[in-house]
Symmetry: C2
Amino acid sequence: MNDLAQQLAATRLVSRHLGSLSGEAKDHVLNSIACSIEESGVTLLEYNRKDLAEARSQSSKALTNATLARMTLTQEKIEQMARSVRAVATLADPVGKILLCSELDEGLELKRITCPFGVIAAVVEARPDAVIQLSALAFKSGNALMIKAGSEISRTASALLGIFKSNFEAAGIPADATVMVKTREDLHELLKRHREIDLVVPRGSSELVRFVVENTSIPVMGHADGVCHIYVDAAADQNLAVSVILDSKVQAPGTCNAVETVLVDRGIAGEFVPKLFKLLQFGAVKVRGCEIARELCGGKIEMVAHEEWSTEYGTLVLAIRVVDGVKDAIGHINRYGSHHTDCIVTEDECNAARFLREVDSAGVFHNVSTRLADGYRYGFGAEVGISTGKLHARGPVGLEGLVTYKYLLTGRGQCVSHYVGPRARRFKHELTAGEMRSDSATSL
Amino acid sequence: MNDLAQQLAATRLVSRHLGSLSGEAKDHVLNSIACSIEESGVTLLEYNRKDLAEARSQSSKALTNATLARMTLTQEKIEQMARSVRAVATLADPVGKILLCSELDEGLELKRITCPFGVIAAVVEARPDAVIQLSALAFKSGNALMIKAGSEISRTASALLGIFKSNFEAAGIPADATVMVKTREDLHELLKRHREIDLVVPRGSSELVRFVVENTSIPVMGHADGVCHIYVDAAADQNLAVSVILDSKVQAPGTCNAVETVLVDRGIAGEFVPKLFKLLQFGAVKVRGCEIARELCGGKIEMVAHEEWSTEYGTLVLAIRVVDGVKDAIGHINRYGSHHTDCIVTEDECNAARFLREVDSAGVFHNVSTRLADGYRYGFGAEVGISTGKLHARGPVGLEGLVTYKYLLTGRGQCVSHYVGPRARRFKHELTAGEMRSDSATSL
């Protein structure tokens, strides 16, 4: 057994223990981690400076300014990290929730109860805040964590995980509960361990997510692309449409929930497209489009080639296509979109209902900015990620996305043979409806 | 585009329509399908006779008696199929359930609402009843279905789907909603279509499931193996243990929830193992075991080799291993088991609680037969399958396993820019708690 395999075996064993911790115990540890982060400010800044110096010196890597900014710690960011850990502590414990309770027969009780996945592998880029957030969320949900951070922040990430580990040990929790995966080779190996890793959570660029998806048979929670659409219906409030489009494109063009394509009903295209084009130019947005849109923009935009409709520009570029009504718009979105978030702007309730029903995306919006697709704005407290898969969690995923459930059946010797044949007992199936909590995770 | 691709495109388009059907409309169609099945008895029996004649004549295939029995229709089985379709009609509509409703801000409403997957591919063996059941469940859950049945029942399956199609058409639903996949080549092609197929449901032998899992990147709902355990604790009621073990092994040894390995605590092994061995021999069960178990059985059983502990015998064979208490038992189960269903027999509540908590399986039982792991016995009305995956549905899966959800956000022009900066509005996040139904699927 190599080092990684040994580590994985140890972490897998610890994961059993984590599922038994009470919510109070976990929150206590998280709060002390938050204090330690604040107290370790000087040390953290020092490790971070070394990471930064090395990153700058390796001209071969040519890190962008955005990457350097994201990996740079400041006193303010350290305080923000501590706050984010405390925020996770305030969330309800997702483990041990009784989702269903049914008396199948006298003395034969079935419970569906939430439980951790076990071991989660997280892959993040060179972002110290992502390391902190995923470590806190994994611990709160009772999961052990193997985390690979961008190698540019290896010292910073290691120091941050060190804070988790020392607080774990002070609370009698094995330090193997949160483990740093150091090399790309180890990550490759990890992604092959489908018997030992229960879930992979990649957070970062679509390249990162695609790399993970293509290199593992373990379930992945995440999304590669955010090709979001806004359809402007003939019955749209056009001023509302313009402001929703501008917010969806300009407010943060690099995010996955920014809009990439605007579809405009043919009936209003002659009026709306030139107006929109002017305002987009004013907002420094580069416009591209279909042939009709190009004509309506006085030939001043580039044409979009067939396969380009599936492109996530991720910058101040927007494509416009003229379509024949809501049915055509739905067809375009379901074909070229990435099932992330799509919006209709209309005052026609009938078209809105059809759009909401038939668009096959995690978020389907009516008269609002696509940028609102976000765990915090949805009120989930913390966002593990946004999922475009249809199994398990879809859309913005909070803490509940890191737990699964199992069925517990308890009785006093009931056998299937009692329920078959001429003198068979009958099941009662008496449901105790609704969600509730078991008194404590350990009493389950 | 070849035939299959054309069919798939048509089915995908129809699937949008299916999600909009009301529960009443679907139940009406299902009830008329049930009547048509009863009325078509003579025709169905005729097609089935042709299938059987061909199957018997192809000696190269050497079908077992069990397979022949399963593929044979009788008047009674036809009536049973009609009843099973009526039973699906009585289930609550799984589509359009509002799982969460939150007023994020005044006039900004978020709903999490159940919706169909879209297109489901089902793969079943030569079982007419499985064809009927999956077709009914897929339709009730608003999904289009591409179904491949064992080629031995091609005429029977085609006639059964014909009944669905003609009833669909009579109700104004395109016949493409349920499509038969005829060849193995088409199935292979289908399993590659991850952009067009949302979920694969294989029902049948573990070979079938493994074939599907290994040949697709589409999410699969199912389980390949059922390696179930019963752990007999030192504090067990030994008579209860014996009856639970016998029921779990003998009542239906070929099923996935039958027990394969019994673990016995060392403290009672000397007394319990010889007693169990005698009763198992009486029940014609062939016993195998670890070295200690072998000694306790007077050397009369074969030893189990290391890797054999993960074997699903699927017949009247049982392995016995002596372990050092509950911790050791949990370790064995999590290592060698298939995360299906595992049981502890004990009067010690503390050991029971630990077992229920730490065993990483879809079903974890206390003092009851593993054979109780079943959708009907759990009270789910109809079973789509048993899942050992941790994402989405786990354990016996009812109709709810065939739907996913999406987020609908409706407002009047709200933008992210309203919620940032010095004059930012604040979110309310006012939850309307609990589950409810939208008045009708079409009013969503």
